[in-house]
Symmetry: C2
Amino acid sequence: MNNKITCKECDNAACFIKRRCSAEWLKKIELKKIQIEHKAKDVIFREGGYVEGVYFIQKGKVKIAAKGADNKEQIVRLAIEGQILGHRGSGDEKYPISAVALCDTTVCFIDNDTLYDAFMNIPKLTIQMMEFYSRELRKTEIRMKYLTQMNVKEKIAEALLFIKQIFGINPGDGTLNGSLSRQEIADLTGVMAEQVSRELGEFEKGNLIKKTGRRLKLINEHGLREIVKKYGIEQYAEQK
Amino acid sequence: MNNKITCKECDNAACFIKRRCSAEWLKKIELKKIQIEHKAKDVIFREGGYVEGVYFIQKGKVKIAAKGADNKEQIVRLAIEGQILGHRGSGDEKYPISAVALCDTTVCFIDNDTLYDAFMNIPKLTIQMMEFYSRELRKTEIRMKYLTQMNVKEKIAEALLFIKQIFGINPGDGTLNGSLSRQEIADLTGVMAEQVSRELGEFEKGNLIKKTGRRLKLINEHGLREIVKKYGIEQYAEQK
DNA sequence: CGCGTCCTTGAACCGCGTCAAGCCAGGTGG
DNA sequence: CCACCTGGCTTGACGCGGTTCAAGGACGCG
């Protein structure tokens, strides 16, 4: 891990916290926070490591995944700017999941003690953190249902809609703002990478997606929704 | 829904809150809380209904499930005494899931406004609620991984261990304290009820479980763990 | 004791995981 | 700037696990 620890006063530091704190508390937290820059594929924290604090994403995209038998990966969540990684641990708690940067990413680390101090003094911050976890719980429960009930084509269609909602599209040309490998789409849906290839091929024939080279470029949201409509797919987009 | 609303001052009222409040605040909350008794199979709240507050389980067992296409159900969580159902809603939010009593159950309802008031004034309560959701999120993420990676036999073995941990066993004879129907085990694992029957038959032959009549009575934890050991199954039991 | 609901068992089909082979994009070094 | 090389992607064939459909059985309630 070749991270650069800058700790400088940056403009959008810990945006989650910044929008919810008084100036006085923000100052205290600024002193304690550690800002870390990651390159794509860098591990932010690793399954099995000790929980020492919480990470806030300032910039970039992150996948949160757990390893199962035979090192098979399950991506449980995708996260972007403004979202939270990990949780406040107690005692010698360990992470059950890993967080990996999908592109150049800046996170802001705040240790357990500083957080606890803030939580005890800023009720609104704690409430919003609680609501973040509660909202993520509901989203995860809904995806759980999809993963058990959909067939492969539907799962992949749903995953593409999910990716579009999380990553967003570039204003202007409307192309997808970021992309996942076939294997990562497989890890997200719990199917085999070969099957992802096949379905993406089918989807392209049906004008449901567009690729340039290997990269997924355009997602025909309307068409894909047609495939999964009987499940009444939810909106995953984060409310700011 | 033939619920009896009693509202009396009961001994273990809102145990989650009781253990985390000053006497002064407990009194305020006691005045506002509504205690509701449910029979087995009663709906506590229904998918699509408006979120008006949070329920705390005082006594009993509850399944939390979401309906998918063709009304196929996915049980996302089992909850017992001391746990929380639902979340604080904002605006005209609706439940994405239903909660149904599995046996005679007493819950305690606290409305959004009273909760907000309490959260703003009792930091420790908010922190522990946050930790509850964050813990449930991690448990759900782990089960998500299992559901996509395990085969049917493994999923059912895992579900039986899950049930044992949540329901517990009767002290004395060591029999399972509560039970689910074949269909409910199917809804928990995302497999077909017929397959559950078949596997339970196999498990009984291998002395991994014992049935009396239709009811699941004994679960050989050690034997079942053997089946799922390559996943390193986690402990789901709630820390009090 | 009778009926309804849930459970059990069998058989057939097919979706998708598995294995294997070849391809192509994109990065690297000359 | 081109040629090579490597890791990801694509495609095909095959077989099994698990869903589906169907019929019969038994538990438990009234």
